[in-house]
Amino acid sequence: MTMIFGVPMAVFMGQLTLGLVNGAFYALLSLGLAVIFGLLKIVNFAHGAQYMLGAFAALLGFRYLGINYWLALILVPLVIGGLGMLVERFLLRRIAHLDHLYGLLLTFGLALIFEGTLVNFFGVSGARYATPEILQGGLNLGFMFLPTYRAWVLVAALTMCLFTWFMIERTRLGAYLRAGTENSQLMQAFGVNVPLLITLTYGFGVGLAAFAGVLAAPLYPVSPTMGSSLLIVVFAVVVIGGMGSILGAILTGLGMGIIEGLTKVYYPEAANTVIFLVMILVLMLRPAGLFGKEA
């Protein structure tokens, strides 16, 4: 059997895929954070809770309404994103003129409410969501066994990332969004409905989180606390990459996933902490972040 630095090739590749899959989630979530941050200038602390809500919506939709995975993948982001738009319209808008730290605190409170409510109904132990039949099993690539669902998650997440990039960089709506990020007052003076744009942007960011949640449902146990610990890691990823660039967010997310996966192979004790350690390193060497423009 081929060995890579003293580890069997299959194990190495297995952890590498696992890392890539985690990285895809980091990328999707940090992308959503970056999109929201760009226009609203707030850090959406409820992002983890919204990701968790996405997974729960898929689970409950299947359990009580018989909505299958593929339908959930489309419906859930729309529903949770809509919920996000209501949050923006009725809560965040009221404090938009204040210091942006208040937005962080408000969304933190929302995260506590979502998480606490679901803990009361479903407990903290996770529920299982069945992998759709067509994605069960795996491919034997000769040097490793690749579970089909993981491959699908990678493809779906990256497609979504590229779609977001395309939307923002290559469409008229995206041009508005980028212009609003630069100077929203001037945009409004030109007759663009900026408040609506803000609502849509927040809804889109939240929808991305919910999409990630549906993707994650068959992969990880669906529990009310699944989002919060992930979100803190995503924050570290965001600090490492900086929120200035979309491709930067995607690359950093994937890169950190790979680093985490490899740490699991060679030094499992540090697997939980390695991303934070990378963050410390980046703060020391390049305080603005790898792709960041501001200090």
């Binding site: 942006h100 606490g116 009361n120 924050f235 200090a295």
Partner: protein, 330 residues
């Protein structure tokens, strides 16, 4: 602020300052009297919990209220103080509690220097995210480190004899010791806030570029404020461990960092009394809810209070009362 001073005759300024000082002295006396009488009116253990969290919240308030830095990782310092003190007191029976507390506080201070140096490199929300991530790093360290007892935490930490001869097993004695620790921390914070150093901190909070252009080494000021705040949070954690004889992962969890923010916000950011009041309210609320059928809804309630505070109550209870007083009686 400086302009309004130069416009008024110096005597008016002096008079106003004297009045403010008088009010503060009165407030301190009232605080001490209430603190001395309290254990005869309420259960001392409950009061000690409030005092520990009040010190924690005051330490946090020094950073948020006077330096304008929102740390989302203060649980790390509380837990570090608690774990170090707990470990030392449990493994070295000859060690007196005050030495254990000093040791815990010192380690938390060192951690504060480390975290401070790293996190003040970023501003605003990045600062909050960096501190949160660093605190999460410490959380994983505490889970895996051999001396913390992992998921179980440290139990049965002896209270021991203060200075070697005052037994702390009596709750009333323990209370007065905790009260003394609290007053020490509180006095240190007040001294810091009302010193020239504190004035510079406020200047940085109000307008950082201007403070830089005036020649202040902004990063050094922020770092010192961060370290003092971390040290006092550690002191609160160490004292709490001695009181409750345990140290656990709850103190290191990011929920704890959120709770201290809530205490400060609810009471009033940047006020003298606010954090104490906020700590009292949040601890009481948790206590009352945990004994009611709503026991599982604590975190939801805290979240709701957060949202209400941010939406309509941003100066906190003390701040809003102050605004009302100024509006109606001046």
């Amino acid at each position: 602020m400086t302009e309004s001073h130069t416009l008024k005759a110096p005597s008016v300024v002096a008079k106003r300052q004297r009045r403010a000082n008088q009010r503060r002295t009165l407030f301190y006396i009232a605080l001490i009297v209430v603190g001395l009488v309290a254990p005869f009116l309420a259960y001392p253990v409950f009061l000690m919990k409030i005092l520990c969290f009040a010190l924690f919240a005051c330490a946090f308030n020094l950073l948020l209220g006077y330096a304008g830095l929102l740390s989302f990782g203060h649980a790390a310092f509380l837990a570090t103080g608690g774990y170090v003190t707990g470990y030392l007191l449990a493994s070295y029976p000859g060690l007196t509690p005050e030495l254990g507390i000093i040791a815990g506080t010192l380690v938390a201070t060192l951690l504060g220097v480390l975290f401070g140096v790293l996190s003040i490199r970023r501003q605003g929300i990045y600062f909050a995210m960096v501190t949160l991530a660093l605190a999460q790093l410490m959380f994983f360290v505490f889970i895996q480190a051999p001396f913390t007892g992992g998921e179980d935490g440290l139990h049965g930490v002896p209270r021991g004899n203060l200075f070697g001869f005052i037994s702390l097993s009596n709750n009333l004695t323990m209370y007065y010791f905790v009260f003394a620790v609290f007053l020490f921390g509180y006095a240190l914070i007040q001294r810091t806030v009302h010193s020239p150093f504190g004035q510079v901190l406020k200047a940085i909070r109000e307008n950082e570029p201007r403070a830089i252009s005036l020649g202040y080494n902004v990063d050094a000021y922020k770092l010192v404020a961060f370290v003092i705040s971390a040290a006092l949070a550690g002191l609160a954690g160490s004292t709490k461990t001695v009181v409750f004889q345990l140290a656990s992962l709850t103190d290191a969890h990011w929920h704890m960092s959120g709770e201290v923010i809530l205490m400060t916000l609810l009471g009033g950011v940047g006020t003298l009394l606010g954090p104490i009041m906020g700590a009292g309210l949040v601890v009481s609320l948790q206590h009352i809810l945990s004994q009611s059928p709503l026991g599982n809804w604590v975190s939801v309630m805290l979240g709701l209070i957060f949202v209400v505070c941010v939406l309509s109550f941003r100066s906190g209870i003390v701040g809003e009362l102050g605004n009302m007083y100024r509006k109606n009686f001046k």
